[in-house]
Amino acid sequence: MKLCYFAWVRERIGKTEEEVELPPGVTTIGDLVGWLKGRGEEYAHAFEHGEVVRAAIDRRHARPEAEIAGAREIAFFPPMTGG
């Protein structure tokens, strides 16, 4: 599955995108975020405020409990406030 990171999520993780093999049991966006947070400090930093970072499944915004089975791409994007 392809993961895409935007804005300060990308800056914190240090990658624009990556391909991952998901372990069994990761079935929702929330599960995926929990799994990513365990992959290193940079991921833990990016997702430290839980649901502040939003997700999109195949370019459609999705809630944390949304099922990710069959998705080609999951994007993570955070709110920004600079003007």
Partner: protein, 264 residues
């Protein structure tokens, strides 16, 4: 609204467009647009709105021009340092187009005054630099039934969307609100501001100019805008991506716990 011969010449390249024409230019002249923030996003936005002949532009900003603003806030110049941004913006607009009335509002837009300010305009454009203002503006636009063009900047990134949460989509569903995308503000201090993190100056120009296109679109109605879509611009890798988002029945503003009912 009728146009003088010199206005017809000034706006000729818009009037010649079938999608705008004389009626569209008249609507632009008749429109009042509220710009929240005369900074990085507000600078090109105000310039293009003034050049396009928006009849009345309200500019809310309680800040003064500082030297470190000038790297991106191209509405202001070196002689304006220390001056209120609203006053500097009004002078810049007067130079660009004498047909535009500027209403300077040198105050902070808050939840307490947002409804009263927003109510006086036809379209609102938010280029503010803090979440408190963003939520106050978007909530007020829903309550006062005003279209909202909302953009934000990160270091190398920008986002843009248009919100008409007081209206339904052609399929009968409610249009999404800002809170359908970002239900609640991030904890204070969790996201660094431009002042600490820095921001690529020309990126503000890209997003502010795109905001002007969306504002003109809300007035003249051409093409397809960003209602229900979030444009994300990544200047680090030059990616322009669009995500769709829908009304969320659990969003704290227009969710079913509180049935949508735009007023006015």
């Amino acid at each position: 609204m009728s146009l003088s011969p010199s206005e017809i010449e000034r706006y000729a390249r818009h009037i010649v467009l079938r999608e705008i024409g004389g009626p569209g230019q008249g609507a632009i002249k008749a429109a009042g647009v509220l710009v929240v923030g005369a900074g990085g996003l507000g600078s090109p936005l105000i310039q293009y709105l003034a050049a396009a002949g928006i009849g009345r532009i309200g500019i809310v900003d309680d800040d003064v021009v500082s030297l470190s603003n000038l790297q991106r806030q191209v509405l202001h110049g070196t002689p304006d340092i220390g001056e209120a941004k609203t006053a500097s913006a009004a002078q810049a607009v007067a130079r660009l187009n004498p047909h535009v009335l500027v209403e300077p509002l040198a105050e902070r837009l808050t939840a307490a005054n947002a409804d009263a300010i927003v109510a006086r305009y036809d379209v609102v454009a938010d280029g503010s630099d803090n979440f408190e203002t963003r939520y106050a503006v978007s909530d007020a636009c829903f309550r006062k039934a005003k279209p909202l063009v909302s953009a934000a900047l990160g270091i190398f990134d920008g986002t843009l969307t248009t919100i008409r949460a007081h209206e339904r989509a052609p399929d009968g569903s409610w249009n999404p609100s800002y809170r359908c995308l970002f239900p609640t503000p991030p904890p204070p201090g969790s996201i660094p501001a431009c002042a600490e993190a820095g921001v690529l100056g020309a990126l503000a120009g890209v997003l502010g100019s795109l905001m002007a296109i969306e504002v003109i679109r809300q007035i003249t109605g051409f093409g397809e805008g960003l209602v229900g879509r979030l444009l994300m611009v990544d200047a680090r890798s030059m990616r322009f991506e669009t995500l769709s988002y829908a009304w969320d029945d659990r969003n704290p503003l227009t969710g079913t716990a509180q049935a949508p009912s735009g007023s006015d």
